[in-house]
């Protein structure tokens, strides 16, 4: 082998290098350069087109001072918390129910999971009809005779954000269920039996055997659902369009608004970076936690 000139060997292996490196570099390179470029734009005075120049934190201050962003961020806190808690509860509840060895489990599981296969545009549209007081649930109940019944959150500034919560929980609580169910199924039945023989009560078994399995899954579910909440865009566009007024704005809509509706690229980029920072506030502690868990597992 060593007698053959190195260049010839390289030539022969060129297709191999190309196949390995072109996709890898495209995939990795676009992420790094795109992210860095957007961060850079957020510090420039760019409006309709990207321009060079340095304005420091001016774009960030401008974004943080807008009513639009502040409403969006308040909404995100409320929506994120409510959505994550409710889908955790739904997911865990459904997983526990399905784990009771019931008939038709496969069919039921498919029913709880099918919304995940739908696009948020479809979900949002379906719920916008159901929640529309003029044609949806309110109209149905009114027609049935209860004429004073009101269910008009969709057009109520204060309650509209809850329509997003309802649709989002409907769409993705099945995901939490799938993970919890897999966790419950991985609980060692022999371990539970052994504990029972040792005279451990249900509470003790729960704390010592089941909780250690479910707890890491809960963290994972929370992080993934928060990641979804922070980047929510389509669902709001289809369900409320951000309205009534700007009552259901979320950060992703504000970014889009700055970039493509008002032509303020610098501010749009700054809002995108603020979104990324929000996401990192969730992900960095999660990664640190996982690192510690991993270390502990490999030492044990």
């Amino acid at each position: 082998m060593s007698t053959r000139p190195a260049t010839l060997d390289t030539m022969r292996r060129l297709p191999e290098y190309l196949v390995i490196w072109v996709p890898l570099l495209l995939a990795a390179g676009h992420l790094i350069s795109f992210a860095l470029w957007t961060i850079w734009v957020s510090f420039t005075p760019s409006t309709l087109v990207p321009v060079t120049g340095w304005v420091g934190l001016r774009n960030y201050n401008a974004v943080l001072a807008t009513r639009n962003w502040n409403i969006a961020f308040d909404n995100l806190l409320l929506f994120g918390t409510a959505f994550v808690l409710l889908s955790l509860l739904m997911g865990l509840g459904l997983a526990i129910l399905l784990d009771q060895r019931i008939r038709g489990e496969n069919v039921l599981r498919s029913i709880f999971l099918y919304p995940l296969a739908l696009s948020f545009v479809v979900t949002g549209t379906a719920w916008s009809w159901l929640l529309n007081p003029g044609i949806g649930i309110q109209k149905l109940v009114n027609n049935l005779g209860w004429t004073s019944f009101r269910f008009d959150w969709l057009i109520d500034r204060d309650m509209a954000i809850w329509t997003i919560v309802i649709a989002a929980v409907w769409q993705s609580s099945g995901f939490a269920m799938a993970l919890f169910l897999a966790g419950l199924r991985s609980v060692d039945a022999d371990l539970v039996k052994a504990a029972q023989i040792d005279g451990a009560g249900p509470l003790r078994i729960y704390r010592r055997v089941i909780l250690p399995v479910l707890w890491p899954i809960t963290v994972t579910v929370v992080v993934i659902q928060l990641q979804f909440a922070i980047t929510t865009f389509d669902l709001v566009r289809a369900l409320t369009g951000g309205g009534p007024g700007i009552a259901t704005q979320l950060p992703a809509l504000v970014v889009y608004d700055f970039m493509f509706q008002r032509g303020l690229l610098g501010r749009g980029a700054a809002a995108a970076v603020l979104m990324l920072l929000t996401l990192l506030a969730v992900l960095l502690p999660y990664w640190a936690w996982r690192y510690v868990q991993h270390r502990r597992a490999s030492r044990a």
């Binding site: 390995i20 992420l31 029913i111 999971l113 296969a117 995108a272 996401l279």
Partner: protein
């Protein structure tokens, strides 16, 4: 406590589960039923109701006659757009991801961990951080408002997921198998073709289903980078259902929603097991 022992407690469990299942089915069932009701019937009652006369014609109108923003072509051209974006992007990103996942998992080379780490950033980096750069790239390559542009975006961005899926699957292939093959003189492609690919069908199905579902359902890039007749169906659906006509068209609009949702629902119906595996594989990373 064997399956089927019937007690009041179990009756309660069944009642609760069935009630929740009904609630999960309801929103889509409402759309499905409305797609078979006439606009007049919906207007007289509400969106929630059983069809009195089956209006199958709604589907024909939604497919190629319904008007969106002055073009009366129905949903059919947008369905074609979505298919023309989703199918190539799914195939290309899956193939490239399989090779990339194979390279980083079974062929150690300098920097392999680094490059893999960077690629997985794509799992969480928000799309909003990539919108402006893609705008520039599409403009420079004259691909703005083209389906090719969307194929390019979805292929490259999909690589993060496809590489991750395949890499996590291929690391389980024993190194001894690789070593034996290399001693026999097999190179990069030969090993991929003879050893890795025959082991791959399960993960390739998971990856294809994942990519297909996500690209078909994607909305942000479609609405940002295409307009009018070039839009994928998710983007067109928003303008279609938001269209304020003189007379509400909820029956036809529901039929359009059904048509747009059908491809991913069919994939879910026939490949549900693999779909769920993709969901959890993405989560466990």
């Amino acid at each position: 406590m064997h399956r089927g022992a019937f007690t009041p407690g179990r009756a309660f469990v069944y009642a609760v589960v069935c009630l929740i299942a009904a609630a999960y089915l309801l929103p889509f069932a409402v759309v499905a039923l409305n797609s078979l009701r006439t606009a007049e019937e919906i207007a007289q009652t509400s969106m929630i109701g059983w069809p009195q006369s089956w209006a199958f014609g709604n589907y024909a109108i939604a497919w190629d006659k319904f008007c969106v923003a002055q073009t009366c072509s129905g949903i059919q051209p947008y369905m074609a757009n979505s298919a023309l974006v989703t199918i190539p992007a799914t195939i290309i990103s899956t193939l490239l991801g399989a090779v990339a996942g194979y390279a980083v998992s079974l062929w150690r080379f300098p920097g392999d961990r680094w490059i893999y780490g960077i690629i997985t950033i794509g799992i969480f980096l928000p799309q909003q951080m990539r919108l402006l750069p893609w705008t520039i790239v599409l403009r420079e390559t004259a691909l703005t408002n083209t389906l090719t542009g969307l194929v390019l975006i979805h292929t490259i961005q999909g690589l993060s997921f496809t590489t991750l899926f395949c890499r996590n699957y291929y690391v389980a292939i024993p190194q001894e198998l690789m070593r034996a093959a290399r001693i026999d003189g097999a190179g990069f492609f030969r090993i991929f073709w003879r050893i890795v690919l025959p082991l791959s069908p399960p993960i390739l199905i998971v990856t294809v289903i994942w990519q297909f579902t996500h690209i078909w359902n994607e909305f942000l890039y479609g609405v940002t980078f295409t307009t009018g007749q070039q839009q994928p169906v998710t983007a067109a659906l928003i303008s279609l259902t938001a269209a304020v006509a003189d007379v509400p068209q909820h029956g036809v609009q529901s039929a359009a929603v059904m048509i747009a949702a059908l491809p991913t629902l069919l994939v879910y119906l026939f490949g549900g097991r693999y779909f769920v595996r993709g969901l959890t594989a993405g989560a466990v990373k």
